[in-house]
């Protein structure tokens, strides 16, 4: 299946020149406009981490405002200028901070940073391909992402500040430049940035899908793919189908903003001035946005699920429990996530019957999520658990997914959502189930595949410190928010000082802020570990985690085309850990069954009658021998 022309070139090349492979690579073609999937993965990762740090700093800034609403911090004025006059963040800039924090985290870190890094790194290496289907498009995908990031950040440098209508940019607020300062140039830049972002995402996604479908090595049928690949593959499909709809929504918004159309606008009197818009509907935008927006949250979480499944299986030294169920639940989530978007719109005035229908579909999607959770627990059961930092983060991902997923059952119930919508309960829900869970999946991936990316090992002890501080910090930050939401405290409020009933939450807000600062500082341990390990880390061996998947059969030193000589052939699924009768507690996918007669099971030959016969012969001779004794 994998004999495309590209490969032949690769193979021939290695045969002829051996180790002189890198002779015609310049600095620019190797590190900047690289078309090698491993380098592009690193570019995505480092850009993603940078954006994450920026978005985290933004969150600390607005947390400071929430914790100390009546204090002044002259340093803020020094740093932010007119956005924070007299030592206090302005109300509008507060909303900008919230908006850009959300946008960067959801799209730039957890979509591009996560999928971009691991799809690029793992797809070719785990399915046995020399590179992506289209390396050039892959390079373009990164550079569009990079440009989108730059444009998004540049909006901090326009006079009126960045977009500030929330990451969901509902019109008319985002459509009327006079409605708030952030709806001026800042919003224009936001829209431009998102269009470029979607272009990047589509180029990446098409590449991932075609690579998985067409370039798998010999023997790698779909049911032998690791769950990481399944997850990244389905994520890419989701993205390809959902992101264009966001572009449609964004383009119509650009028209309303700049060309006087009324797609989203009608009957508007702004500051006492009648506006010439008629016949549009703000709700239309919300449909378009959430048609992407809901699949988007699964675009964010599915790679994290795949990574965690893989990491947990390797480090429990056990096969993932219910591999087929895991794949089918991913497929179920992929399909269902397209028909639940209306749960974000229960109280918008959408037809209540429609709300009822969306409530049914929404609670159905909780079933595959539950199945996944139980399967993870069953994977740990009677395992032999090694606590690498990657394993800890994968476990943290599961814990967060449970805690946050359960509150989804409240929100998915339209009747309960009446009082919970847009409160801190929702903030708690999605920061646990999506924010924290996906970040932990991403960090699990970074710790696990760091040796593959950089050929070095990260420091485990610093990893432990990083994990526990972040894990505890995230719970301290988000757990109390549920109760604020249940007290009816709305999200996106600049201060809780104006309502007498909210003042009792002030001490808890201060506490949350300090927990957030602690968790943020814990990231220094990660960044330090990451950078120092790249240059001075211990050299990694080829298969440091004793893992079965293909990427660990490639040499530590990166070479163009991934494997010297032929691409390995795959004979078995990736989860033969601790198989009874086997010598070691892992059997890589490249080991044929003929070499593991003592550990083969009838189950291994479900669709291979010749192999089964072979096995039966083997077991009967064994039995005969025993009788002789």
């Amino acid at each position: 299946m994998s004999t495309l022309a590209v490969h032949d070139h690769g193979v021939a090349h290695h045969d002829e020149h051996g180790h002189e492979h890198h002779h015609n690579e310049t600095f620019v073609s190797k590190y900047i406009f690289s078309m090698d999937h491993k380098m592009i993965a690193k570019q995505f990762l480092i850009t993603g981490i940078t954006m994450a740090v920026i978005a985290m700093i933004l969150s600390i800034l607005f947390r400071i405002q929430l914790a100390y609403p009546d204090k002044t911090f002259p340093l803020l004025t020094t740093l932010l200028g007119h956005f924070a006059p007299n030592g206090r963040i302005s109300t509008e800039f507060y909303l900008s901070l919230v908006t850009i924090h959300g946008t960067i985290m959801v799209f730039f870190v957890l979509t591009a940073g996560l999928s971009g890094t691991f799809a690029n790194l793992l797809i070719p290496l785990q399915i046995g391909a020399r590179d992506m289907a289209s390396p050039f498009m892959n390079m373009l995908s990164y550079w569009f992402f990079f440009l989108a990031s730059v444009v998004m950040l540049s909006s901090f440098f326009v006079q009126k500040g960045p977009a500030s209508g929330g990451w969901t940019i509902y019109p008319p607020l985002s459509a009327l430049p006079k409605a708030m300062p952030g709806s001026g140039e800042g919003m224009t830049l936001w829209l431009i940035s998102m269009v470029m972002f979607v272009a990047s995402s589509l180029m990446g996604g098409i590449n991932y899908v075609s690579t998985v479908l067409n370039m798998r090595t010999k023997g790698m049928d779909l049911w032998k793919m690791p769950l990481t690949i399944w997850a990244l593959f389905l994520t890419a499909i989701l993205g390809i189908l959902a992101f264009p709809v966001l572009v449609a929504g964004v383009v119509l918004l650009i028209f309303d903003r700049s060309f006087g159309t009324s797609f989203y606008l009608s009957d508007i009197v702004l500051n006492g001035v009648q506006q010439p818009y008629e016949g549009g509907s703000p709700i239309l935008f919300q449909h378009l946005f959430w048609f992407l927006g809901h699949p988007e949250v699964y675009i964010v979480i599915m790679p994290a699920m795949g990574i965690s499944s893989e990491v947990m299986s390797v480090n429990s030294r056990k096969p993932i429990f219910g591999y087929h169920a895991m794949v089918y639940s991913l497929i179920g989530i992929t399909v269902l996530s397209f028909i639940v978007w209306g749960h974000h719109m229960f109280v918008t005035g959408m037809n209540p019957f429609l709300g009822g229908v969306f409530m049914i579909t929404t609670l159905i999607i909780a079933v595959p999520s539950a199945v996944k959770t139980f399967n993870w627990l069953a994977t740990l059961w009677r395992g032999n658990i090694r606590f690498t930092p990657a394993m800890l983060f994968a476990i943290g991902m599961v814990s967060f997914f449970i805690s946050g997923g359960l509150t989804g059952i409240f929100l998915g119930n339209a009747a309960l959502d009446i009082n919970l919508h847009d409160t801190y309960f929702v903030v708690a829900h999605f920061h646990l189930v999506m924010g924290s869970a996906a970040i932990f999946g991403m960090l699990a991936g970074v710790y696990h595949w760091f040796p593959k990316m950089f050929g070095k090992l990260m420091d485990e002890k610093l990893g432990y410190l990083h994990f526990w501080l972040t894990f505890i910090g995230a719970y301290l930050v988000f757990f109390p928010m549920h109760f604020m939401g249940l007290d009816g405290v709305p999200r996106r409020y600049y201060a809780f000082t104006e309502f007498a009933s909210m003042q009792k939450w002030l001490t808890i807000n201060t506490f949350i802020t300090w927990a957030a600062i602690m968790a943020a500082l814990a990231q220094v341990a990660f960044i330090y570990n990451f950078i120092v390990s790249i240059f001075a880390g211990k050299k990694s061996t080829q298969n440091p985690w004793e893992s079965n998947t293909l990427e660990w059969t490639a040499p530590v030193e990166h070479i163009h085309g991934n494997w010297p000589g032929e691409i390995p052939t795959v004979y078995r699924w990736p989860y033969d850990y601790s198989k009874p009768g086997a010598e070691e507690d892992f059997i890589p996918q490249t080991v044929p069954f003929s070499q593991t007669m003592s550990s083969n099971l009838p189950h291994d030959f479900e669709d291979n009658p010749a192999g089964l016969e072979e096995l039966n012969k083997y077991t009967s001779t064994l039995k005969a021998e025993e009788k002789v004794k």
Partner: protein
């Protein structure tokens, strides 16, 4: 770190003239930076000590620090501390949440909330205990091999079907409750609901009550002027006796239908004590019908808070003033309501009367002028 300036320098006058920005107290900042660096050094020292300890153990021929055991124990400690923390949070912060629902449908919502909470919390505690319990129990040991268990169809079926059934039950109850709450028509034989018009704009709510006829006059945004803020159409009779109000008074135990509108951007009428929320969308009037059951006075005694008031909050991001867009709601007896209503001023003020008389002949022109003004 950023807090540095604050704690040392909290007394910085906020009321200074806008031009001179407050001075940064760099000693305060550097104090916190130093503190952080100190912590880093501390962490590094502890790390080195651990390493040396580890090495000495190995030199003595022992195994060295067994991190898998250490982490396993920390998981157990986290589980116990976490369980206690969750319990503490539920009791202490859980008691700070909203009081009982003050409306008929709100009670139904609260019941459903309780059922959902019980079901989900069982799952929450069970799964988290299993998760961290397994981590401790099955931590790595050289002597053991993991149990090879790729799948088990029976148990997988069970844990697909059981959640499916539980969720179906929740959905069915939720669906019918939701349908009944959102039905804002008056049933046959029911006393007609009081119509109250609530309109959001940046950053306040406007209220309009119907007069004797019980009907609110129609509106058209093109008729909006400084005196006719809501754009009420006075070609219709029903408009003439409409009243404007500052506070939302509602008689207890009578159905109210809020007619919710927005003029500029999306707002959201959120009255958490009544379990009421519906967005106010420009160009799309929405309706929420509910029946308050507890008067403000009763709630004050129940909460033992003489200053308590029901409020409308804005709960959809709408600009800089979003965080302070409130309106007081008073639930009173029928008699109090009638007295209050008789004191409300008509929407049709003298100024508006004059303006209408004057402008009645050429309303079209005002609009087109406005348009011109906007287009340039």
């Amino acid at each position: 770190m950023l807090m540095g300036t604050n704690l040392v320098n909290a007394q910085t006058p906020a009321a200074g003239t806008t031009e001179d920005a407050p001075q940064v107290d760099w000693t305060g900042v550097s104090y916190y930076v130093l503190l952080f660096l100190l912590i880093c050094v501390g962490v590094a020292v502890v790390g080195k000590i651990l390493k040396i300890y580890d090495l000495t153990l190995k030199i003595q021929g022992k195994k060295g620090l067994r991190w898998n055991n250490v982490m396993g124990f920390i998981c157990l400690v986290f589980l116990l501390a976490g369980l206690y923390g969750a319990y503490w949070s539920f009791t202490v912060q859980g008691s700070m949440t909203l009081p009982e629902a003050a409306s008929i449908h709100g009670v139904k919502i609260d019941e459903m909330f309780t059922v959902t909470t019980i079901l989900t919390m069982i799952v929450f505690f069970l799964t988290q205990i299993l998760l961290f319990g397994f981590l401790f129990k099955y931590r790595h040991s050289e002597k053991r091999r993991a149990h090879f268990l790729p799948h088990n169809n029976t148990i997988e079926k069970i844990w697909t079907i059981v959640p499916a059934i539980v969720l179906t039950i929740l959905v069915v109850f939720g669906f019918f409750t939701w349908q009944s709450i959102m039905d804002n028509t008056d049933a046959k034989g029911e006393v007609a609901a009081i119509n109250v018009d609530i309109t959001g704009h940046q950053f306040a709510w406007e209220l309009r009550y119907p007069g004797k006829d019980g009907k609110l006059g129609p509106k058209d945004f093109k008729l909006t002027t400084a005196a006719n803020k809501l754009g009420v159409d006075f070609k219709k009779k029903s408009s003439f006796d409409d009243l404007s109000a500052d506070t939302m008074y509602l008689p207890v135990n009578r159905a109210v239908r809020l007619n919710i509108q927005a003029q500029d951007v999306i707002h959201s009428v959120y009255m958490p004590h009544f379990r009421v929320q519906l967005n106010a969308v420009p160009g799309l009037p929405t309706f929420f019908k509910f029946t308050p059951t507890i008067t403000t006075a009763q709630m004050r005694t129940r909460l033992d808070d003489p200053k308590f008031d029901y409020l409308v909050y804005c709960n959809k991001i709408c600009g800089g003033g979003h965080y302070n867009m409130q309106k007081v709601v008073r639930v009173v007896t029928e008699a109090e309501y009638q007295t209050w209503l008789s004191h409300q001023k008509p929407y049709l003020t003298d100024g508006l009367r004059k303006e209408l008389h004057f402008a009645a002949a050429e309303p079209q022109q005002t609009v087109s002028q406005n348009r011109l003004a906007l287009n340039n």
